[in-house]
Amino acid sequence: MSSSIYDQFLFFKEALDDYHDQRERIIKASRDITNISKRTIFLLHRRALEAQDAPARVKASKTGLTKLGEVQRMYASMKDELDGDQFWRYQRQVSPGLQEYIEALSFAHFLENGNLVTYEQVQATLCGTDGVAYFPLTISDYLLGVSDLTGELMRLAISGFGSPGGRSRALETCTFVRNCKSDFERFTPYVWELHKKQVVTAQSLSKIEDAVYTAVLRTSEFDLPAEMLDDIVNQTVSSYNSHTRNFERQDDDQLDY
């Protein structure tokens, strides 16, 4: 009897070790995925700020999507570990990276199409060439991932506010974020944590609203189209810049004394 108890526990030891090892591997991969996704978001911000028109934004989005290809390849390599009933065993470890990836993906998608990436579209990016999903996308990961998009859009709208066309884009973004907030509201009873995200979305929304308010108010004081106002401002800025550059040179000269 003694050896049989011992043998049984040796078997349990192996089972538990395998489980812990696999869990660790998935946590590490998930952390890497989070990193790549965060970097992609920064990259998209930089490129989107430089992009003045729709084609440029599509191009910016493409750069981001290419980078996200790395994440997709990582998921492809994890597919055996998440096969069948295993996905749900490690779902809590997969979730954080996956949500960050969905956030980055939805940002790139928004820059390209101006709308929200759908559940099906996200799942489609996590499928092999044979069309078989690496693992099932949960609705809560999808919703929690895309609801982070609103924060990124707020950042984009505010930091791009001063650039040409920034004000009208901020207005579009404002409408989009508002729709997101009201669409997500009905899911809050089902998805734990979505409630917290909604609070953040509300904050982002009111920041964009305040910015757009200023824009509308100021343009209304002039009887000219917004682009012309931009031009006037640009002229002033550039003439000021060349002016101060001369000044600085003078300052430098004076310093030599």
């Binding site: 009897m1 003694s2 049989s4 108890i5 011992y6 049984q8 526990f9 040796l10 349990f12 030891k13 089972a15 538990l16 070790d17 812990h20 069948g84 009933d85 295993q86 996905f87 749900w88 065993r89 779902q91 929200l116 759908t118 559940y119 099906e120 609705i139 999808y142 919703l143 729709n179 997101c180 669409d183 009905r186 899911f187 089902y190 998805v191």
Partner: protein, 223 residues
Amino acid sequence: MDPQSLETLNQMLDHESNLRENIREQVNDFDRKMRTVVGILGKIHSTRSESIPSLIETARPVLHSCSETIAELASLIPPNQFWRWKDMWCNSLRTAVFAAALSEFLTKGTLISLESTSDMLGMQEKWQDRVHLAVEDYLHGLITMVNELSRLAVNAVILSDFDQPLKISAFVKELFSGFSVLNLKNDTLRRRFDGLKYDLKKIEEVVYDVSLRKLVSTNPDGS
């Protein structure tokens, strides 16, 4: 979000919450049964060891009736989603393991294996991806049994059943060395394993007390 996507997501979420409710219903049933079993098994502390087997026989039908609940669960859980829902019933399941293991030890003096436990609960191989007995749950059930046995060692002495503590001691020691083989992480299993030493200590003290006072019967089985 376009209305179509909203509707699809809403339907999926509705479906999930219905499923959760149905599972909850079965889990409540499972829990009720387990409370009955635990109630019966609680009487071992006031029963002398020769009458314990017949006491355990009265608990068996309820324990066996768990297989109906488990079959219901297996029909509810969608394929591959065992790990998604298992937390809902793991407490009841661990109690079932505890009851099965305790019954086995008190009637046969042996450790029930994981396979025999899952057979007793009516788990089927083909349900592996929906309902099965996970190693962690089995081990949790065993720890609960040890907790109970340390109480039984004390209470057996109260009933002048002086051999029982020695049987328990030998069994628990063996089980403890089994647990020591495992590499446990910082989780509930680990914390409960850490608590086992107190049970072991308590049982050892009882053994010490009855041995020194020469209360143990002199049959060769006794040490």
